[in-house]
């Protein structure tokens, strides 16, 4: 396939690896903050190809994984309401809440539908005028403009039975939070390609300028990831901290202005809680007042009490790059993709799922 096959050539990978091996630097920690990168790195066995002084860490790049337990419990409470149809992207369905999951609620009779595009949720709303259709809106800056577009469409088409449960999050504030906590030394960021399509390379400049950490915006083919690792090592070696765009066939310094316009028309920035990272200022999105009639939280007031997760689950530490899944007591012993104890094992792009499926990397 065009724009895919050319980026997977083994002979070129060998060439880039040779360049990487020429850096005889001290130990460097490079963090990827995108679940799709995590999967590429594990599936292609890139970790094992790298020299010992290059350590790849997975950060909070999986939207389902970073959704707080409180928000998971709220979606489950919403699913229990009989007048409601829940529409969601697939990864949310099996995430264990405090006492149930969306999947369990489906077993109990909830009307739960997995969608690929928010347009399908609007269609379901139109086809079921007697029901209230809630779209579970999780995702980073790649997804929020798409959700914003569906809210605008609902308003334009006067669809009165469509709501969103908004749990959108923003990547740069989470990167800032990780750097400020100083829990893990991060020498370079492999920045997310498709989030950056929307927000642009300039959105990370404060990380390079203020925290002196190199950033390379990276595409999703194995050669893209290797090339970006090379670019990060080169910056480190030359004592530079800049935002470079390896994925320039799709990402521009200023991003996609139309997508940014959709986000700011419908949403406003707010403080939100992340699993593992806690409350991060200005790291989430909520519906603006003009759109509050689409807000599932305001309409249905989901009730939760004492949200908690399995005390032995270390998803939170995994999301900060502090622990590896193999350091979790539950990993592989009782927690597996068939019976996940935490979201990082459920999501197809969760770090625990990657370790389980492909080994330590």
């Amino acid at each position: 396939m065009k724009f895919v096959d050319e980026f997977r050539k083994r002979s070129i990978a060998q060439g880039i690896l040779e360049k990487i091996k020429r850096f005889d630097s001290t130990m460097v920690n490079l963090m990827e903050v995108c679940g799709t990168h995590t999967m590429v790195i594990f599936k292609q066995g890139l970790k094992g190809m790298l020299p010992e002084n290059v350590n790849l860490l997975s950060g909070p790049g999986c939207p389902v994984c970073v959704t707080s337990q409180e928000d998971i419990d709220k979606t489950i409470d919403l699913a229990k309401k009989r007048e409601v149809i829940i529409t969601t992207f697939g990864d949310m369905v099996r995430v264990p809440g405090t006492s149930s999951s969306l999947e369990e609620e489906k077993g109990n009779g909830a009307d739960l539908r997995v969608i690929y595009s928010p347009g399908e949720a609007l269609k379901i709303a139109k086809q079921n005028p007697g029901k209230k259709v809630i779209l579970i809106a999780v995702g980073f800056e790649t997804t929020s403009p798409v959700i914003a577009a569906s809210v605008l469409d609902a308003r334009k088409e006067k669809i009165e039975n469509f709501y969103i449960f908004c749990s959108h999050k923003l990547i740069p504030p989470a990167m800032k939070g990780l750097l400020e906590s100083k829990e893990v030394r991060i020498d370079g960021f492999i920045c997310p390609g498709h989030v950056s399509v929307v927000i642009g390379g300039n959105a990370y400049r404060f990380i390079a300028d203020k925290y002196n950490v190199p950033c390379v915006i990276t595409g999703f083919e194995p050669l893209d990831v290797l090339q970006s690792i090379y670019m990060l090592l080169k910056q480190i070696k030359e004592n530079r901290a800049e935002v470079e765009i390896e994925y320039f066939r799709a990402v521009h310094p200023r991003g996609n202005r139309i997508a940014q316009g959709l986000i700011s028309e419908v949403f406003e920035v707010c403080d939100v809680r992340w699993r593992g990272l806690g409350n991060i200022p200005k790291s989430g999105l909520r519906l603006k007042n003009d759109f509050s009639k689409f807000d599932a939280e305001k309409e249905f007031r989901p009730r939760i009490k004492n949200s908690k997760q399995n005390p032995d689950c270390v998803c939170g530490d995994v999301l900060r790059g502090v622990k590896r899944p193999t350091q979790c007591k539950l990993f592989k012993k009782v927690c597996n993709p068939e019976k996940p104890y935490g979201p990082c094992m459920v999501s197809s792009e969760g770090t625990c799922a990657a370790y389980y499926k492909y080994g330590g990397g």
Binding site: V4, T142, V146, A149, H194
Partner: protein, 69 residues
């Protein structure tokens, strides 16, 4: 979840386009990408085109991969 797949534009009708995504024809919303033409490539995320993939930039990337440092 931020998965986006390159697809080729087959037909354009206002804000909607028919695209070829790895051999499968699908409808995509193209309101976020202006001045698209049939034959061009876009990245599709959750049914929406989020950006154009420029042919010359893809070729330039491949050239950079092969460059010896």
């Amino acid at each position: 979840m931020c998965l986006a797949i390159p697809a080729r534009i087959l037909k354009i009708n206002g804000n909607l386009a028919l695209v070829d995504m790895a051999g499968v024809n699908r409808e995509a919303d193209i309101r976020m990408v202006k001045n698209l033409r049939v034959g061009e490539y876009v990245l599709i995320h959750a049914g929406f085109a989020i950006e154009k993939v420029a042919n010359k930039d893809a070729e330039e990337t491949l050239r950079l991969f092969k460059e010896i440092a």
